[in-house]
Symmetry: C2
Subunit: 335 residues, 2 copies
Amino acid sequence: MKLGTLKNGTRDGTLIVVSRDLRRAVHARSIVPTMQEAIENWAQVEPALRALYAALNAGRALEAFDFDPVAAAAPLPRAYQWCDGSAFLNHGRLMEKAFGISPVPDFETVPLMYQGASDDFLGPRDDVPLPSEAHGIDFEGEFAIMVDDVPMGCTAEQAAGHIKLLLQVNDVSLRAFTPIEMKKGFGFLQAKPSSSFAPVAVTPDELGGAWKEGRVHLPLRVCWNGTWFGHPNGGEMNFSFHQLIAHAAATRRLGAGTVIGSGTVSNADSSVGSACIAERRALEMITHGKPVSSFMRFGDTVHMEVLDADGHSVFGAIDQKVVSATPCAGETQTP
Amino acid sequence: MKLGTLKNGTRDGTLIVVSRDLRRAVHARSIVPTMQEAIENWAQVEPALRALYAALNAGRALEAFDFDPVAAAAPLPRAYQWCDGSAFLNHGRLMEKAFGISPVPDFETVPLMYQGASDDFLGPRDDVPLPSEAHGIDFEGEFAIMVDDVPMGCTAEQAAGHIKLLLQVNDVSLRAFTPIEMKKGFGFLQAKPSSSFAPVAVTPDELGGAWKEGRVHLPLRVCWNGTWFGHPNGGEMNFSFHQLIAHAAATRRLGAGTVIGSGTVSNADSSVGSACIAERRALEMITHGKPVSSFMRFGDTVHMEVLDADGHSVFGAIDQKVVSATPCAGETQTP
């Protein structure tokens, strides 16, 4: 099943069911009005949502309409929690090797994870407003999951049943702040502006055999300014999403609608490219002795999409442009 | 004006207006049903809420009832964003001196702040369930503010007008994880379980002259197991809440209902005691060469309260007991 959220002038938008081919959609409001309420009441609403999805795919849904990703918000436009892992160890290893960073303790046995901002997720075609090109603007292609209520102390085995939806993320990052904030030990704040999400969240069954052992075994295709940048595969994730959930829930429960990210997708085979510029720069550093690629400029675009084995888009595409943020003076910029 | 939230079996509870003396309350549902909706529509609802507050204080509010803090949730039971500063530099200086930690870069000029979990705030009399005494269970007495929508790039000067409510927090911390997570650079995750809040949030005018230059100029009184622990004053905050907001909003807008904390209240005069055990241990280390105090045990209680110049409680009291978390088996623990 594929679910999305249409912008409607409210902060939470309105929940829609989207057809498997991403062409048609239908309002879910007769079942549940928003994604947050859907995940809070998943057991109750899932059967009716699935019935509507089946009708939509069969061309039998009343009041169906063409799905327009430009009108889509993030599937969950704001969340009560967003924790982002760094579960592809190849990425961390490259960063260490290229820039001489000392290895993170327990890197291979304890997942790295930061608490991120979740009050303002961007839609798949929204511009990304940022204050300065000097901040080292980067994209990060990631997978993510959404859970229902997870109790404290949930094990990795128990976690599997709490994963209700899979998502695809552009975790926008400002690299000028990253080393500074890491050195302070308090984690990322200015380094991590609002994240963006692909048009639809999908139930795990939608991936068939490509969802396996808590990982998305599909390549994430990234283009920067219309040119291929990478297509690393999510199957190489060193920690599964089950393990990431258990890590996050070790000392607290996780509220329904918590979103947990994989960290930038990264593969040992460098011929598949990267899902973020920082990693390409690390590879350049290792190969050429210095980074060659610049970070993003205002006006640059990024495209991220996941195709299944038959070449069909799973989550729809992220297609975004980075733009200069409106100055604060006058304070006209409100959500 | 004082506002609170009563538990009612839903995740967001129901908004109430509480009398200045904290004895009486009245439902605000005819104006706005929840705190989140109130802060999103502050300009529209504030006048009616203030009128109801005036009527309640004058004994003229229809359907008023006795206010019971045991029935209170956190004023905002879950938030889309919680950023916690470390704005009392004395605390950081003591930790550095006692434990030989290298100074954080730009400590005195750039606020330290981490992104915290906000999906599950605890009420003022709720037990604090935690998995293990071995994790170094600590309390942290703090002040906090709640803002309406803050645009990206908001300056400290502009920030003042966005502060709608002041709050009092127990930022529960697990000290066994703190140095490990700081060293990794990704910030606090397992080290920071759910935070707890005093019964009411208050508008800044409620403090009179004690709210000045973006700081609460009142002592925060802390008792551990019924014994005085400290009463450091919020006026010694090195960065104002205005500066903390500007720091958080540097690269992104902040959604209405974002809560920003001061970090543990700490004063240069050690005779006023501390607002967290870690700091007392640091003082013991400096004085005696080793920490003497243990961290909290299951069954321990903490009391935190702020009295105004006339001895009246401003936010009501936090009175909590730390307890062993229900094991996950069977997964019966849901919110």
